[in-house]
């Protein structure tokens, strides 16, 4: 399990996170929070007129799983509409990370990024 969990892909994703940083002029911004460990993530989005994500940036500290998941999710949501993003779930995140499964204790870590994006969409919708 650990050997799979900390495979190259994951370490690479966490080491060189995609879309890490901030946007100068985001359409909306929100913070995600993992209450079990205190990990925090800030995500910013820019949308086009059809509510498709054109740009995304995020920042935060966290474990490798939450960082890598946020990295791959940030790539995956580009070009998607808000309602398409809301349909994504744990299975999609695991797929992006090339995981078959994850231990129950780490589900929160892997869902921190996507979960916060979805919550923020709910709030603005």
């Amino acid at each position: 399990m650990t050997e799979d969990l900390y495979q190259e892909v994951l370490l690479e994703a966490a080491e060189n996170p995609q879309n890490y940083g901030t946007l100068t002029d985001p359409d909306f911004e929100f913070q995600g929070y993992n209450a079990s460990c205190g990990d925090k993530i800030t995500v910013q989005l820019k949308l086009d007129s059809e509510e498709k994500v054109t740009e995304i940036a995020w920042q935060g500290d966290g474990c490798i799983i939450s960082q890598a998941a946020m990295s791959v999710v940030s790539e995956a949501v580009k070009g998607k509409t808000l309602s398409q993003i809301q349909k994504l779930g744990l299975a999609d995140v695991l797929g992006l990370l090339h995981f078959d499964t994850i231990s129950p204790g780490r589900i929160k870590c892997s869902m921190l990024g996507l979960g916060s994006i979805c919550k923020a969409i709910e709030e603005v919708a």
Binding site: M1, C63, I64
Partner: protein, 407 residues
């Protein structure tokens, strides 16, 4: 130490394996494992004595009532308290909430002050934030110095209008031990009540409630080798006698007379604070745990664990990536640390893959973590069945952490 090998064999779960490796259980501050005597006591209660208490004239009910009474005697004797001073609860959290509903709401008003500290578990923190919201009292938080110790001078200079001081006896994050005497003397000078959160103390040191001189003492049975769902609140006799402490759960069992328009509560505090059917089996299990520890001797337990903590501190200090948190002396039970460049969850996961169970996160002490800018920490915590070999396995376990993350 002679009790050691026996004590390992007493705990069936320690014979299991995790990911094909023998379990090395170092998350005892979260909950301890249960010895056979506890598991058997619970099973035997259900096999031989199960009936509701006080509710019947039949023999089985008497047997169950007696089992509860004996269990209460054993538990209170173990903690140096009187039988009637014990209110059984599900855990520490429920016990502390009992002080909120049974004492604070009746005794605090706007302008009063409750003092707690940065070191507290959320159970002994959020409750006081809430009570201040409810009553208009003010919450003051004693800062903790770089060593993880309370700033007692701060406490001594912030005593105005203080009605309650609520502190943890032993910190679950840093192992810091409270200077109870000093706190009690400050409190007595200003007429404040003292609550000790004893969750991390009871399994590691001899506790004598009467000698401590505090007003409330909360503890969890499940951290004391007893069953989940067991714990208690000790309330000093004087508060019960003066009716300063009120029942906060109402219903069957706790009453003397019920009329259509009013109810008289039971005179006997034990009855008055036992609303509804008590969890007799858990009480019996917890009593078995207390007996088990008494047989080993709490001094022996304390000595053994002090050796382990000192050994762990020594070995951890030799790993360059590890930064030990908290005091280096006068600490009990838990050792938390940061691993440079690797998040605590990732450290814990790699250790888990080797059968080593440790805790990662903020251990329900967010104010402490925020004050120090720690996102998450890793914690190892010890019990009677742990050995130096467990510490050695842990230390070797870090080699893989270093391999996987290159740090």
């Amino acid at each position: 130490m002679s009790f050691q090998q026996n004590s390992r064999d007493d705990f069936p779960v320690l014979g299991t394996s995790v990911h094909g490796k023998p379990l090395v259980y170092l998350d005892n501050a979260a909950t301890t494992q249960k010895p056979n005597v506890v598991i058997d006591a619970i099973a035997n209660y259900y096999k031989q004595s199960n009936a509701n208490v006080h509710r019947g004239v039949h023999s089985l009910s008497d047997k169950s009532t007696l089992a509860l009474e004996e269990a209460r005697n054993t538990i209170t004797h173990f903690l140096g308290a009187k039988n009637q001073e014990l209110i059984l609860t599900r855990n520490t959290t429920e016990a502390i909430n009992g002080v909120l509903y049974g004492w604070a709401l009746h005794n605090l008003t706007k302008g009063d002050v409750v003092v707690t500290s940065q070191l507290e578990h959320h159970s002994n923190f959020v409750v006081w934030q809430q009570v201040c919201k409810m009553t208009g009292a003010e919450l003051k938080v004693v800062p903790v110095n770089a060593n993880g110790e309370l700033d007692y001078e701060w406490l001594e200079s912030h005593t105005q209008k203080v009605k309650l001081m609520a502190f943890t006896y032993v910190s679950n994050a840093l192992g810091t031990v409270l200077d109870v005497q000093r706190v009690v003397s400050v409190a007595r000078n200003v007429g404040a009540r003292v609550l000790l959160d004893g969750a991390q103390a009871v399994a590691h040191m001899l506790v004598d409630f009467t000698k401590l001189g505090v007003d409330f003492f909360a503890f969890s049975g499940h951290k004391l080798y007893g069953p989940m769902g067991s714990g208690g609140l000790l309330v000093r006799q004087e508060l019960l006698d003066k009716n300063e402490m009120h029942p906060w759960l109402f219903g069957g069992g706790m009453i003397a007379e019920v009329h259509a328009d009013h109810t008289l509560f039971h005179d006997d505090p034990v009855e008055r604070f036992t609303a509804g059917t008590p969890d007799v089996a858990s009480a019996v299990g917890l009593a078995a745990a207390c007996e088990y520890l008494t047989n080993i001797g709490m001094e022996t337990v304390a000595q053994h664990e002090a050796t382990l903590v000192a050994y762990a501190l020594e070995k951890l200090a030799q790993i360059p990536s590890v930064e030990i948190l908290g005091p280096l002396t006068n600490r009990v039970g838990s050792v938390s640390f940061l691993y440079a460049g690797v998040h605590a969850h990732d450290v814990a996961q790699v250790l888990d893959s080797q059968g080593i169970a440790v805790r990662s996160g903020h251990h329900c002490t967010m104010p402490l973590h925020l004050a120090h800018d720690w996102i998450a920490t890793t914690r190892v915590s010890f019990a009677i069945y742990n050995t130096k070999a467990d510490v050695d396995t842990l230390i070797t376990g870090f080699e893989k952490v270093s391999q996987v993350f290159g740090k």
